[in-house]
């Protein structure tokens, strides 16, 4: 077998996956995982903008204590639709369907995902689900909250619950198919020499995410379907008139929707592992622990859903067990944070834009995770349940965690995806603006929530106004910060500096092929003879600063 330094990067060929074919048809009928990743990127950016507009409307309404900008019914729809769009149509597909789609085959040295046609199908299903949902929003919207709690959603709500439910049901299949494709690809398509423990941690986290996608998503699919049929037929299994139990809906809903949080944050953790190791130029500390903590999070994530039901008539013993298990999830999460921090220790850190997002992630995710423990405690949860404390907590995980990782990863792989560099100065500026804006938006909400401000109301007592003014100001900064990358990413596709094959000088497989890559990713099937994050041969690092008698003698 060959040694690592013998591996030659093929001379950049003029034909790559972007210019191999032109025209709308070559995109809409593509089976290339890289192009499908870009199709997803464009679609989720669209949904992100819609969800962002709803966020803006929420923050504008809450600027003043009176309900002056939106009526209460409109406000109910606005926060519901913000949640539905952001969760189902942005956060869940965000990293797996764009970066994952692009990188899973490249990182294992494969030509494509195992099922390219199913991959394209998943995008069309996503689009169909999105169109149905957007249609539901246009004809009147939905006001149940993204949680669709029964019996409000089945009996009392006068909004378009069935149509939205159908949109989410359809969209679920795109998630299932993506997860299925990743699992089969990672099992069967690895290049010669790419063993499980040579895989970049990005792949371990995507494997864990895929497990949640295939185990959880079918449950929300059947739950939403039963809900829609119940609403349509007038009776059903969640209906107390027949002896049904509305709380059963909450159990089924959170059986998916709690693990769904890990669908959002696990891929982001995978990105962060890549960024931390690569921008510290050091092998990750405790590779095995970081890899298995992803699987542990996926497994534990399925056993904690009951902490969303602490204030329902759920058995107190069940509540205690769910509380303990929820605390247990903190262990693998903390393993990751400590290992990342240990990786930084005595390394040569480069403060490029992706690394700034990664460092931001560590701080924000830690705050989000620690405040989660308040909510996992039976007693404090009663006080904090349904307050802005909860809202702040999950935004720290979903925005501070998932979105920061997504943006960091997008910057990091942008030269590989487009063959162009983004403007570094603007990148660092936007990372800073987003970090400041985010904290200004959500830190005050912890305080407001702790003092008792409930979520999901369009008006509130005047003593909470100071927190809401801070929050709205922060949201404006955050929104501005989000627009900067949107503009310079589009700009750089045409005017950015051309990127070489390996702009960051890294050992990963995806950097050993031209930027942008050819349609089949590699000119020849690579043979992997090195470990992940192998920056320097061991003998070279060992001699530094050591007494070597054989040199003295000569």
């Amino acid at each position: 077998m060959r040694a690592i330094e013998e591996f030659e990067i093929p001379a950049p060929s003029r034909v790559n996956y972007l210019n191999a074919q032109y025209g709308l048809k070559s995109w809409l009928l593509t089976k290339d995982h890289k192009r499908i990743g870009l199709l997803y990127l464009a679609s989720i950016t669209f949904f992100f903008l819609i969800g962002g507009i709803y966020a803006l409307m929420i923050r504008l309404e809450l600027l003043t204590p009176q309900g002056d900008f939106l009526q209460s019914t409109t406000y109910n729809k606005v926060f519901t639709q913000h949640g539905i769009i952001m969760i189902f149509f942005f956060l869940i597909p965000s990293i797996p369907a764009t970066l994952g789609n692009f990188l899973v085959p490249m990182m294992i040295g494969a030509k494509d995902l195992a099922f390219p046609r199913i991959n394209l199908l998943s995008w069309y299903i996503f689009l169909l689900g999105g169109i149905v949902t957007i249609y539901a929003l246009l004809v009147g919207g939905v006001d149940t909250g993204w949680t669709f709690y029964t019996p409000f959603s089945t009996t009392f709500s006068n909004s378009y619950v069935i149509l939205t439910g159908v949109g989410i049901f359809i969209n679920g299949f795109s998630s299932i198919l993506t997860g299925l494709n990743f699992i089969v690809t990672i099992h069967t398509m690895r290049a010669p020499g790419m063993t499980w423990f040579r895989m970049p941690l990005f792949l371990w986290s995507h494997y864990a995410t895929s497990l949640i996608m295939i185990l959880g998503t079918p449950v929300i699919a059947i739950t939403v379907l039963l809900l829609a049929f119940e609403r349509a037929s007038g009776v059903g299994i969640f209906n107390p008139a027949l002896g049904g139990d509305p709380i059963l809906f909450q159990h089924l809903f959170w059986f998916y929707s709690h693990p769904a949080v890990y669908i959002m944050v696990l891929p982001s953790m995978g990105v962060i592992s890549e960024l931390i190791a690569n921008f510290s130029r050091k092998n990750i500390f405790g590779y095995g622990f970081v890899a298995f903590s992803s699987l542990a999070i996926a497994v534990f994530g399925f056993l904690v859903w009951g902490h969303h039901l602490f204030v329902t008539p759920q058995s107190v013993y069940a509540g205690m067990i769910f509380s303990v298990l929820s605390f247990a999830v903190a262990i693998p999460s903390a393993i990751k944070v400590f290992n990342w921090t240990a990786t930084l220790y005595k390394s040569s850190i480069q403060y490029d834009t992706p690394m700034l997002f990664a460092l931001g992630f560590i701080g924000l995710f830690t705050v989000g995770g620690m405040t989660g423990l308040f909510l996992a405690s039976l007693a404090t949860d009663v006080h904090l349940s349904d307050t802005y404390f909860v809202v702040a907590h999950f935004h720290y995980i979903m925005v501070g965690g998932a979105l920061m990782g997504y943006l960091g990863g997008l910057h990091y792989w942008w030269p590989k995806i487009t063959g162009r560099m983004y403007p570094e100065g603007w990148g660092r500026f936007s990372a800073l603006v987003i970090f400041v804006g985010f904290n200004l938006t959500f830190l005050p909400q912890f305080v407001a929530g702790y003092l008792g401000m409930p979520r999901r109301y369009h008006a509130y007592p005047p003593e909470f106004q100071v927190f809401n003014v801070l929050s709205t100001a922060g949201a404006s900064i955050l929104g501005f910060g989000m627009l900067i990358p949107l503009i310079y990413f589009v700009w750089s596709m045409r005017y950015g500096r051309r990127a070489e094959a390996n702009p960051w000088h890294l050992p990963g497989l995806e950097w050993r092929t031209p930027s942008p890559p050819p349609t089949e990713n590699f000119e020849v099937t690579p043979i992997v003879t090195w470990e992940a994050y192998e920056f320097a041969p061991p003998e070279e690092t060992e001699v530094v600063g050591k007494f070597r008698p054989e040199l003295e003698r000569s």
Partner: protein, 247 residues
């Protein structure tokens, strides 16, 4: 120096897709893909099995009363039909692997006929329930849920529902909601399976499959067996549930 890891001699089978190294890898991916898909199916049906378990333990008398009204003969016949279709499907996979095209096509057609037979019998059962006013809710117009109740001491009438002590009509409606949800979802899977079998039959007749390339038959076979197994669980849970009550 760069070596080519592709093994050149297996290239050339017309069914080998460009991103796989060889037929073995392609078959492995297809089979694993179907197994993973079946895991999602288990979770999908699992939601309904959970609801069934919960309400059966809460309302045992009502569920037994409702279950006793299901047609056990038709249910048992259908179970036999499906097990037989699983056998013919397994034989179809075998004949594909050994490359005997005529028995392969025959077995696939037999499987399709048995599958359609199951759906026909199911339709008869559904119509009986419609006649007896046992369709829950208002989704199907015409016959709202309003079963005739069999009184104690009256001559036995199969169109009337015999309520055990402690049972209520509302909870019987809940049973029938779950019954139609579960068997309806199962029937939908059978219809999809029949479509897949039709595809297999057409492509078998064109000679698309051979011992080197038989993974579509194998993979759709896995799906077919899974749908059968769901019924193997549904039959005792729904039909045989009440047999030990009051008989």
């Amino acid at each position: 120096m760069v070596t080519h890891a592709t093994t050149p001699e297996v290239h050339g089978h017309p069914a080998l897709q460009h991103h796989f190294e060889n037929m073995e890898q392609q078959r492995e991916a297809g089979t694993l893909g179907m197994w993973v898909f079946l895991v999602t199916e288990i979770m999908f049906f699992g939601g309904m099995f959970l609801a069934y378990t919960l309400y059966r333990s809460s309302y045992p008398e009502s569920f037994a009363s409702a279950s006793n009204h299901l047609d056990i003969t038709l249910g048992a016949v259908n179970t036999g039909v499906l097990i037989l279709s699983s056998f013919t499907m397994a034989m179809a996979v075998y004949f594909t692997q050994v490359g005997q095209r005529r028995p392969q096509i025959l077995c696939l057609i037999l499987t399709l006929i048995l599958g359609l037979g199951f759906l026909g019998i199911k339709a008869v059962e559904y119509y009986d329930k419609y006649e007896d006013h046992l369709i829950p809710g208002t989704l199907i117009p015409g016959n709202p849920f309003n079963p005739a109740i069999q009184e104690e001491g009256q001559p036995l009438d199969h169109h009337k529902l015999h309520l055990l002590p402690g049972a209520t009509v509302k909870q019987v409606e809940l049973f029938y909601w779950i019954y139609f949800a579960m068997t309806g979802m199962h029937a939908l899977h059978m219809i999809i399976g029949a479509g897949l079998l039709t595809y297999l039959i057409i492509f078998s007749m064109r000679g698309r499959f051979d011992p080197e390339y038989h993974s579509p038959v194998e993979v759709i076979g896995l799906y077919w067996h899974f749908v059968d197994i769901v019924w193997i669980f549904l039959f005792p849970l729904l039909y045989l549930l009440g047999r030990h009550f009051g008989h």
